[in-house]
C-alpha cells in the first residue's frame, strides 16, 4: 500500500480536479487536489492511493542518473585495473615457469 508509483500526465480535468495518467502503459484517473495549480500535461507525477502527491523534478532525476553512470564507470575502471594488475603478476599467464 505504501509505495508510490511514477506516472505521466496525459490530460487534465481542472473542473473535476482529476487527471488521466499513464503508469507504464496503464491509463487511469487520479485526483490532483494537491498539485492542481502547477501540474501540466507531460509532467511526471508520483501516484499514491489514487492521488498525485507531487510533480517529479526531472532535473534532479537526471542528476541522479548521471551520478550513477559515473559510479558505474568508476567501478568498471577499477575492475579493469585489477584485471591488468592480476595478469601482470602472473608470469607467463598460464601455469608459470
Amino acid at each position: 500500500m505504501c509505495l508510490s508509483i511514477p506516472s505521466q500526465v496525459i490530460s487534465i480535468d481542472k473542473e473535476k480536479c482529476t487527471a488521466i495518467v499513464d503508469t507504464l502503459g496503464v491509463k487511469r484517473e487520479v485526483g490532483i487536489d494537491f498539485i492542481a495549480d502547477e501540474v501540466k500535461v507531460g509532467d511526471f507525477v508520483l501516484i499514491h492511493i489514487g492521488y498525485a502527491m507531487n510533480i517529479i523534478d526531472e532535473e534532479y532525476a537526471k542528476e541522479s542518473i548521471k551520478l550513477y553512470q559515473e559510479i558505474i564507470e568508476k567501478m568498471e575502471e577499477d575492475e579493469r585495473q585489477r584485471m591488468i594488475e592480476e595478469s601482470d603478476n602472473c608470469p607467463g599467464g598460464a601455469g608459470g615457469a
Binding site: 511514477p6 507504464l24 487520479v30 485526483g31 511526471f44 508520483l46 492511493i49 502527491m53
Partner: protein, 376 residues
C-alpha cells in the same frame, strides 16, 4: 527523459552493485559498526526483495522499524472496524491488507463471510463513488496510514462536504512518523543495557516527506545526535541512502539529507498539509500495537466535523486488548528482535494464517522475511 527511466534506472543491478562497492569502501573507514533503522515497512520490503542485506558490509546493520500502518494497528481498533462492518445497513471500506488482520473478534474478512459488506478500495476516491451509488446505506471509511495517506482522507472529506453527502463517515487511524521515532529512541535509551544494539541513524521514507517535507526530521540530528537520510523506495535509492549515511559518519557530520531530491523538498506539499490542518487535530495519545501509547502520534477529526466521525456517531468499546502471547511483533516493531526470533514464525504464523499483524501486510517485517527469507 522517459517514464521508463524513472523505473529502470533506479532498479538497475549494475548501479546497485557499484553503490555496494562504494559503501564497502566507505564502511571500511568506519570506527564503529552502525545500525540504521529503516523506519518504513516499504523500505523493509525493498531491502528483502532485492537482497540488499547480502550486499552490505559486515559493519552495517538494518533495524526494521514500525512504519507499516497495518502492523501498528492495535486490536481494539480492528475490533472497531469489525463492529462497524457488522452494523445494519453499513458498507465498510478500507485500504490495503487491513482486511486480513485479526482483531479479537476476527478479521474484516471474517466479518464479510458472516454477511457484512466490507470492501477493499484502492483509493478514497472509490469510497466517494460507493457512497454516491448507495445513498440508502451508511458508508464508513476505515482510514489508515501515515502522513502519506492522511491528506487523501482530508480530500475525501472535503469532497463529501462540498457535495453535501450525508451517508459517509470516517474512522480515523492516521499516525505520524516523527513521534514514533522519538519514542523508539527515548525508550531505547532508557533500557539501553538490555539491548545489544542501538539505532545510530535513520533512513526516512521518501513519500512521507513528499507530503510533510524533510524538515520533520530536523530534531533528530539536532537533539538526538542521529543523522537522517530521506530515501526513495527503489533499491538504488536505498543503497544511495545508506552510502550517504555512512559518509556522514566518516566526515563527522550529523544532519538531515535528502537522497530523493526528485520529489522531496524541505517544506513538502503545503497544499496537502493545509488540508490536513483544516480537518484534523492531534490526539493526546494513540496506542500503537506493541509500542503502547505515544503522545501526539495520531490524528482525529476536529469537533466541527464530528458528524462525519464514526467514533462519535457509534458507541465503540474503549478497552485495550492484549496481543497473542507468543507474538513478538512489539519487539520487532521496536527493532529489538528479528522475525526469525519468534517461536511461531513460519510455523503457527504464516501469511495465510497470521497470528500477528507483522505477518499480514506485505510491508510487515515478518511477511517480508517469510516471502524472501530464502535470500537470507
Amino acid at each position: 527523459m522517459e517514464l521508463r527511466d524513472l523505473y529502470v534506472r533506479f532498479r538497475d543491478p549494475k548501479t546497485i552493485k557499484a553503490l555496494a562497492k562504494e559503501i564497502e569502501l566507505e564502511a571500511s573507514k568506519l570506527a564503529n559498526p552502525i545500525n540504521i533503522m529503516e523506519v518504513c515497512g516499504g523500505h523493509t520490503h525493498t531491502i528483502m526483495k532485492y537482497g540488499l542485506l547480502q550486499l552490505l558490509p559486515k559493519n552495517i546493520f538494518f533495524i526494521h522499524g514500525p512504519g507499516c500502518p497495518v502492523c501498528i494497528m492495535p486490536k481494539e481498533r480492528i475490533d472497531h472496524a469489525y463492529i462497524l462492518a457488522m452494523q445494519e445497513n453499513v458498507i465498510l471500506c478500507t485500504l490495503g491488507d487491513m482486511i486480513r488482520v485479526p482483531g479479537s473478534k476476527g478479521s474484516l474478512q471474517d466479518a464479510r463471510s458472516k454477511g457484512a459488506d466490507v470492501r477493499f478500495v484502492y483509493s478514497p476516491l472509490d469510497v466517494l463513488k460507493i457512497a454516491k451509488e448507495n445513498r440508502e446505506k451508511t458508508v464508513i471509511f476505515f482510514a489508515i496510514g501515515f502522513e502519506t495517506t492522511t491528506p487523501m482522507t482530508a480530500a475525501l472529506l472535503e469532497s463529501a462536504i462540498a457535495q453535501k453527502m450525508t451517508n459517509l463517515l470516517l474512522h480515523i487511524n492516521h499516525v505520524t512518523v516523527p513521534e514514533v521515532m522519538r519514542e523508539l529512541i527515548d525508550s531505547r535509551d532508557e533500557h539501553i543495557d538490555s539491548y545489544n544494539n542501538q539505532i545510530d541513524a535513520f533512513l526516512g521514507p521518501s513519500h512521507v516527506s513528499v507530503i510533510a517535507g524533510s524538515k520533520i526530521y530536523e530534531e533528530f540530528p539536532a537533539k538526538y545526535n542521529r543523522p537522517v537520510v530521506v530515501a526513495g523506495f527503489e533499491p538504488v535509492d536505498v543503497m544511495e541512502g545508506v552510502l550517504m549515511l555512512v559518509k556522514q559518519f566518516n566526515e563527522g557530520r550529523c544532519e538531515v539529507e535528502v537522497q530523493y531530491k526528485r520529489s522531496v523538498t524541505r517544506e513538502g506539499n503545503r497544499k496537502a498539509q493545509e488540508l490536513i490542518e483544516k480537518y484534523f487535530e492531534k490526539r493526546d495519545l494513540f496506542k500503537w500495537r506493541g509500542l503502547g501509547n505515544i503522545p501526539k502520534s495520531a490524528w482525529k477529526l476536529k469537533d466541527a466535523y464530528s458528524d462525519y466521525d464514526a467514533e462519535r456517531v457509534y458507541d465503540l468499546p474503549k478497552e485495550e486488548i492484549e496481543d497473542h502471547k507468543l507474538c513478538i511483533c512489539g519487539d520487532i516493531l521496536r527493532g529489538m528482535a528479528k522475525p526469525t526470533e519468534c517461536q511461531v514464525f513460519g510455523t503457527a504464523c504464516t501469511p495465510a494464517k497470521p497470528l500477528g499483524s507483522c505477518m499480514v501486510s506485505s510491508e510487515g517485517a515478518c511477511a517480508a522475511y517469510y516471502k524472501y527469507g530464502n535470500l537470507l
